[in-house]
């Protein structure tokens, strides 16, 4: 019985990897997606940073966190609506891959994309302004676990039973854009107004930014252990909610 269960688990892990590979090949390795992934966070950040009396090297953690957040959660909300529109979602659902494996595959693809693209500000920060990583563990945790949390959030946003990517895009921006203002991306949480400090703990991005700041040797707002636990908690919560809403969507689905 346990051998059978082990086989089922390994089969589903394999299926998740196949789904992730498919997503990367079809949806991520496209010039517009790549260009958007690089340019959007950079310009967004510059729009808010230029003219402010902040040393350039102090901007690097925020830029890195925002690049990670935007790239990891950029495509996830759209994969399922695109697949519903193309009717390929039916193909996945009727394969031996479970819904959990399909969602995990989508999360893995987004997280991988985010991690790869977070290397750009990391390298630019090092080469351009000499921003060096002084503590690898919080930096790695902030990037890797953060990527999973943000990608899970993206996949959760794909749950509404629609075939229209534009509707999902609107919802995704409605959720994602406010988060960057309350998460210490543009300024450390300690310098934020009282209302900002009150809201910051409810954003997964806050913990990721905090860990990345710790990686660059800056002071943290939350204890590192709490930040890691919080991002893991957010990842699990987003994944569980994605499972719930996708399952509910299929139960109600007309198409």
């Amino acid at each position: 019985m346990s051998e059978k269960n082990n086989n089922i688990w390994s089969d589903q892990v394999h299926a998740a990897l196949v789904v992730a590979k498919k997503d990367i090949r079809i949806y991520y390795l496209k010039p517009p997606v790549i260009i958007f992934g690089v340019i959007f966070p950079v310009f967004f950040f510059l729009a808010f940073a230029i003219g402010r009396p902040v040393p350039v090297e102090d901007m690097v953690p925020g830029m890195l966190a925002m690049a990670l957040f935007f790239t990891a959660s950029a495509v996830g909300p759209l994969v399922t609506p695109w697949e519903r529109q193309a009717k390929t979602y039916e193909r996945l659902i009727t394969s031996p891959a479970s819904l959990g494996a399909i969602i995990a595959g989508d999360v893995l693809a987004g997280a991988g994309f985010g991690v790869v693209f977070s290397a750009i500000p990391l390298i630019v920060g090092y080469v351009g302004v000499g921003a060096t990583v002084s503590s690898v563990l919080p930096m790695a945790a902030g990037i890797l676990i953060g990527a999973v949390a943000f990608s899970s959030l993206g996949v959760l946003l794909s749950a509404p039973a629609t075939q229209s990517p534009s509707q999902i895009m609107m919802l995704a921006n409605l959720v994602r854009l406010p988060l960057i203002f309350v998460s210490g991306v543009f300024m450390p949480i300690t310098e934020m107004p009282v209302w900002g400090r009150a809201v910051a703990p409810f954003s997964p991005l806050s913990y990721s930014v905090d860990l990345i700041r710790a990686g660059y040797g800056e002071e943290t707002y939350f204890p590192i252990g709490l930040s890691i636990a919080a991002i893991i908690g957010f990842s699990i919560m987003f994944f569980a909610l994605a499972m719930f809403f996708h399952t509910r969507g299929r139960r109600k689905a007309v198409e």
Partner: protein, 317 residues
């Protein structure tokens, strides 16, 4: 004979609309089983429940002994699905589409490569294996979908309207391949169609579904025997005023159905009636283009069953 698929009281609601109403049936190993019904009868919904795309509102099904509700991934391991609408990945090549399905089924690299090549050759797609899905015509996409469904070597193949809207050549290739695989590999085929001729031609058993319920289920021959009285004479004329024959007046005519250049007469004694029609046409100088007696067809069974139900529901209203 072993049962590979068992549907147990499957029910599916869309909101308050009851689309499938307590559908129960069995499919035996190695047979070609057809689900025949008009548009909106519940064929596709039933298939979508059995293949795991929809969760049943109630009821369940067993595929190779695996419950589709409690062990869905195990159940789906035994099936291949060709849905009604083309759903290949248009950004992937023909080859990658096939390999993707094999990988999702956990088929090892050597086996999936060999089987993929065999299938692409059998469906005349091998020369196009590097072409993107978007570049394929509807017929080629349909063939690719069959390759994707068959690459895992399924025990049970679901085909939802597999030849709908295809040209004659593609439809024949698909039908012939289905029959060949059924015979050579003992693969069970579950086919939904509203193409009665197709069902009559290739299926071992047929279920007629109407308004979400199974109305009849048996072999085509047994179903035809239900409407044995529906024997007929079909006659067409080259030209002339064939209406002057007053066909409804011939002895033994039970029903008259006009055709574009003639008529079809239903009768318990079609041989004798054909003689009467021929003699009368000769007498009036009409040139008969074709005259033949017909045994009841599956279409007659289908019309008999579904129209009977419609009449009943009209009476209730």
């Amino acid at each position: 004979m072993n049962i590979i698929l068992e549907s147990k009281e499957l029910v599916r609601y869309y909101g308050t609309h009851l689309a499938v109403d307590r559908v129960s049936f069995e499919v035996r190993c190695g047979e070609i089983f057809a689900f025949l019904g008009p548009n909106g009868a519940g064929k596709t919904t039933t298939v979508r429940m059995l293949t795991g795309f929809f969760t049943p509102s109630s009821g369940t099904g067993l595929i190779n002994g695996h419950d589709i509700v409690r062990e869905p991934t195990e159940a789906r391991r035994h099936i291949g699905v060709v849905p009604e609408e083309a759903n290949v990945y248009v950004d992937l090549s023909v080859w990658r589409n096939v390999m993707l399905m094999a990988e999702l089924h956990g088929i090892d690299k050597r086996t999936r490569t060999e089987r993929g090549q065999e299938l692409l050759e059998a469906f005349d797609l091998y020369d196009r294996k590097e072409h993107e899905g978007r570049s394929l015509s509807k017929g080629l996409k349909q063939r690719l979908m069959l390759c994707m469904a068959l690459v895992s070597g399924p025990d049970l193949l679901f085909l939802d309207e597999p030849t709908s809207g295809l040209d004659v050549k593609s439809a024949r290739l698909i039908r012939d391949t289905i029959v060949r695989m059924n015979k050579e590999e003992n693969m069970t085929v579950f086919l939904t169609t509203h193409n009665i001729a197709e069902a009559e031609q290739i299926c071992d058993r047929v279920a007629i579904i109407d308004e979400g319920r199974i109305a009849a289920i048996d072999t085509p021959d047994a179903l035809r025997s239900v409407v044995a009285s529906r024997r007929s004479v079909e006659v067409t004329f080259s030209d002339g005023d064939y209406q002057s024959l007053s066909p409804e007046g011939f002895q033994g005519v039970e029903e008259l159905k006009p055709l574009s250049q003639g008529f079809k007469l239903y009768s318990a004694t079609p041989g004798r009636l054909a003689q009467q029609v021929a003699a009368s046409a000769l007498e009036k100088g009409l040139e008969v283009q074709n005259i033949r007696t017909l045994e009841p067809s599956l279409e007659d069974v289908f019309v008999h069953i579904t129209s009977g139900k419609n009449k009943r529901s009209e009476n209730h209203e």
